[in-house]
C-alpha cells in the first residue's frame, strides 16, 4: 500500500478533564474524498483543528504523506501542502475578491515575505489568481470588496482561498452550511472540480452532499470514530443508525 496522504494515529485531545478526541486512528489514501460526519459536538471541528495545526494533540500523531506534522504551526503545515477552509467565512474582509485570492496564491509562487518587488508585476501570480477566480466562478466579481459579497459567494471565496495555494490535501469544514438548494448544488460542483486529483477531507451535515461526493465516510461520535466505510456500508451500519437516532435524520432517509 502506498503511503497515506493523511494519517491519524491514536490521536487524543483533552481540554482539561474533557476528552474531546479519543484514540482516533484513520488513514486516508491519496486522491480519496473522505467525509467525516457525526452529531453536533462530536469533535469534528476539533479534529480539523488538530490536523491543520491550530491545536496540538494531547497524544498521538498526525502525518502528512508520512511526515509527522503533529507539533508544527499551521503555516508550516500549509507549506507542506495541506490547506483548510472554515465553517464560518474566514476571509480578508477589507480586500477585494481578487486580492483575497492573490494572497492565497503568493506563497506557492515563491513570493515569500518580499518587500522589494511589486505585487502586480509578477505575471505568474496574476495568471494563477485569474485561474483560481475563473475556476470558482468569481472572475466577474474580482474587484468587489469581499465584505460585500453575497453569502454563497463568500463561501465560494473561502474555497477559492483554500485551493489557491495548490495544496494537495484539502480540508473543508461544512462548505455548504446555510446554503439554499441551488447554492448547495453549485458548491458541490465546485468542490468536485476543485478536489480533482487531490485528497479531500470534508465535514458536512448535508447527507445528500456527503453521499454524493464521498468515496469513504467516517462517523465521529463523542470523539471516537465508530465506523469508517464506503457510503453503502455506512448506510447499513446499525451502530451509526443508533448514534443518529433521534438526533438527526437517518442517512438512508435523506438519500433514498
Amino acid at each position: 500500500m502506498t503511503t497515506p496522504a493523511l494519517s491519524l494515529d491514536k490521536l487524543n485531545k483533552s481540554f482539561g478533564p474533557a476528552k474531546i478526541i479519543n484514540d482516533v486512528s484513520l488513514d486516508i489514501a491519496p486522491g480519496e474524498r473522505h467525509a467525516i460526519i457525526g452529531p453536533n459536538g462530536a469533535g469534528k471541528s476539533t479534529l480539523f483543528n488538530l490536523i491543520s495545526g491550530l491545536y496540538t494533540p494531547t497524544s498521538g500523531t498526525v502525518s502528512l504523506h508520512g511526515q509527522d506534522i503533529s507539533d508544527m504551526p499551521p503555516h508550516e503545515i500549509n507549506k507542506l501542502g495541506l490547506s483548510r477552509s472554515f465553517q464560518v467565512s474566514n476571509i480578508f474582509t477589507n480586500m477585494t475578491v481578487r486580492e483575497n485570492v492573490r494572497c492565497g496564491v503568493l506563497h506557492s509562487m515563491g513570493q515569500g515575505y518580499a518587500w522589494w518587488r511589486n505585487i502586480g508585476s509578477n505575471k505568474a501570480v496574476q495568471q494563477k489568481t485569474w485561474e483560481v477566480l475563473e475556476h470558482c466562478s468569481l472572475a466577474d466579481k474580482a474587484n468587489v470588496p469581499a465584505a460585500l459579497l453575497p453569502y454563497a459567494d463568500q463561501r465560494a471565496l473561502e474555497i477559492a482561498i483554500t485551493i489557491a495555494g495548490g495544496a494537495d490535501v484539502i480540508l473543508l469544514d461544512e462548505p455548504t452550511a446555510g446554503m439554499s438548494h441551488s447554492e448547495t448544488a453549485r458548491a458541490v460542483d465546485l468542490i468536485r472540480r476543485a478536489s480533482e486529483g487531490k485528497t479531500l477531507v470534508i465535514v458536512e451535515h448535508d447527507m445528500g452532499v456527503i453521499f454524493d461526493l464521498a468515496d469513504r465516510i467516517s462517523v465521529l461520535v463523542y470523539g471516537e470514530i465508530i465506523a469508517t466505510d464506503k457510503p453503502e456500508g455506512i448506510r447499513g451500519n446499525a451502530a451509526v443508525r443508533e448514534a443518529y437516532l433521534g438526533d438527526e435524520a437517518l442517512p438512508e432517509e435523506v438519500t433514498a
Binding site: 503555516h75 472554515f86 480578508f92 481578487r98 506563497h107 513570493q111 518587500w115 475556476h135 472572475a139 489557491a164
Partner: protein
C-alpha cells in the same frame, strides 16, 4: 482547470486608471512642493512647512502599523526618537570629520535615521510583535515609558535634559545646498518627504505590504495560506520604525537639536491623533491629518491658549462622527458630487456645513469666554468689536442659540439625506 494555452485576463485596473489614481497624485504633490519657494514664502511659512513635511512622514509611518497593520501603538515616537538621535550623533561625527563620516553628506542623514529607527524596531519589535491587539498596545505603552525614563539615565547617548545638538553646515555639500538658510533646508525636507511618501506607498504594493493588510483583517487565515502572522507583523514593524526614524533624521537636520521630549508619550499620542484625524483607512489620510494638525499646533496656539481643547474636541468629533477621518470626508464629498443627484447633495452638504459652523461658533464663544473668566485677569473676549464678557447675557445667548440651532440644522440635514 483551464488549459495552459488559455490567455489570462488581467483583472487589475488598467494602466490609465493606475496612472490617474496612483502616479498622478504623487506628481501633483511633488509639483506643489517644487512650486512653493517660487511664491517667496516667509520664514514662518518655511518653519511650519518643514514641520509638516516631518509630520507627514512620521504619521504615514505610524499608519503602516495602525491602518495597514491593525496594530495600535502608543509609543511610535520611540522610533522617531532613535532615528533622530542616531542622525544627530552622525551629524556630530561629520563635524569631527572622523573616518568614513568625513565624506558623508548631511543631506543623507535621514538614511542614517532610517537605519536607527529600523534597528530600534527590530530590537523592540522582537518581543512585542508576538501579540496583536490589546497586548501589543500595552507593551508599546510600557516600552515608550521605559525608553523615556532611560533617556535620562544614559546621558552620553540622549544628552540628558538638554539633549544633543549639532551643526548641519558641515561635511560634503550636495546639490549646491549649504544647508544653512532655511530656504535651502526646504529642498532637503521636500526631497525626503517625497522619498518617504513614495517609499511607503511602494511598500503597500509589495507582497509583504499586502500580507500586512491580510494579517490585520484575519491573522488566523494568514496562517492557512502559508504565512506566519507574527513574522509579517515583525517585518512591517521594522519598516514602520525605519520610516519613523527617517522622519526623526529629517527633524534632527531641521532643528539641529534633539531632546528626550521628542520620544516621550506626548509626540506618540500626537502622531496617533494626526493619523486618526486624517483617516487611517486611506493611505493619504495621515497626510491630511499631519498638515491640519501641524497647522493647528503652530498657528492656532497664537490665537488662543485653549487650542489643545479644540484639538481634543476635533479628535473626539472625528472618532464619533467621521471614523474614516478627513480623507473619508473628502472622498465622501467627491463621491457625492459625482453621484446621481449632485444638486441635492450640495444643498444637503451646505446645510450640514452651516449647522457645523453654528455649533463651532457656539463652542468657540463658550471656550473663549470661559477661559478668560477662569483666568481672572478681567480680560474680555471681543470678536468683531463685540464685548462678550461672562457677565454679558448676550454671550450666553449666543452660545445657546448657535449650539441648539447648529445641532438642529445638522440633524435635519442628515435626516433629509437618509430620506432621499
Amino acid at each position: 482547470m483551464s488549459d495552459a494555452t488559455q490567455t489570462f485576463q488581467n483583472l487589475a485596473p488598467s494602466a490609465g486608471a493606475k496612472f490617474r489614481q496612483r502616479t498622478l497624485p504623487i506628481l501633483i504633490f511633488a509639483a506643489c512642493l517644487a512650486a512653493i519657494p517660487m511664491v517667496g514664502p516667509s520664514r514662518t511659512f518655511y518653519t511650519i512647512a518643514h514641520q509638516m513635511g516631518i509630520n507627514i512622514v512620521f504619521a504615514l509611518s505610524y499608519n503602516m502599523i495602525l491602518g495597514k497593520g491593525g496594530l495600535l501603538s502608543f509609543g511610535h515616537a520611540v522610533y522617531f526618537g532613535f532615528g533622530g538621535y542616531v542622525a544627530m550623533h552622525a551629524m556630530n561625527w561629520i563635524e569631527d570629520g572622523s573616518g568614513l563620516w568625513a565624506g558623508f553628506p548631511v543631506f543623507f542623514l535621514p538614511l542614517v535615521g532610517f537605519a536607527g529607527g529600523a534597528l530600534a524596531g527590530a530590537i523592540i519589535g522582537w518581543p512585542s510583535c508576538r501579540k496583536a491587539g490589546t497586548t501589543f498596545a500595552m507593551i508599546s505603552l510600557g516600552v515608550a515609558e521605559l525608553v523615556f525614563a532611560a533617556a535620562f539615565m544614559f546621558d552620553s547617548f540622549f544628552g540628558g535634559e538638554q539633549g544633543i545638538s549639532g551643526d548641519r553646515m558641515n561635511g560634503v555639500e550636495l546639490f549646491g545646498l549649504s544647508m544653512g538658510p532655511i530656504s535651502e533646508v526646504y529642498w532637503f525636507i521636500a526631497f525626503w518627504t517625497v522619498v518617504g511618501l513614495v517609499g511607503m506607498w511602494a511598500f503597500t504594493r509589495t507582497p509583504l505590504g499586502k500580507l500586512s493588510e491580510a494579517t490585520r483583517d484575519n491573522a488566523q487565515r494568514v496562517q492557512f495560506i502559508g504565512y506566519n502572522p507574527q513574522r509579517v507583523r515583525y517585518l512591517v514593524f521594522i519598516f514602520a520604525g525605519g520610516f519613523a526614524g527617517l522622519a526623526g533624521g529629517m527633524a534632527a537636520v531641521n532643528y539641529e537639536i534633539f531632546t528626550p521630549d521628542a520620544m516621550s508619550l506626548v509626540p506618540s499620542g500626537f502622531v496617533l491623533i494626526m493619523a486618526y484625524v486624517g483617516g487611517i483607512t486611506y493611505f493619504v489620510g495621515p497626510i491630511f491629518g499631519a498638515i491640519l494638525l501641524t497647522y493647528m499646533q503652530s498657528m492656532l496656539s497664537d490665537f488662543t491658549e485653549a487650542w489643545l481643547l479644540y484639538l481634543g474636541v476635533l479628535f473626539i468629533a472625528i472618532v464619533m462622527f467621521a471614523p474614516r477621518g478627513i480623507a473619508g470626508i473628502v472622498f465622501g464629498i467627491w463621491d457625492g458630487l459625482r453621484g446621481s443627484n449632485p444638486g441635492q447633495y450640495i444643498a444637503g452638504l451646505l446645510m450640514k456645513l452651516a449647522g457645523i459652523l453654528l455649533m463651532l461658533i457656539g463652542l468657540i464663544v463658550l471656550v473663549e469666554v470661559s477661559v478668560r473668566w477662569s483666568n481672572g485677569y478681567g480680560e474680555v473676549y471681543e470678536p468683531f468689536g463685540m464685548h462678550l464678557g461672562h457677565q454679558n447675557v448676550l454671550s450666553w445667548l449666543i452660545i445657546v442659540v448657535t449650539a441648539v440651532a447648529g445641532v438642529a440644522l445638522t440633524r435635519y440635514a442628515s435626516k433629509d439625506k437618509e430620506a432621499a
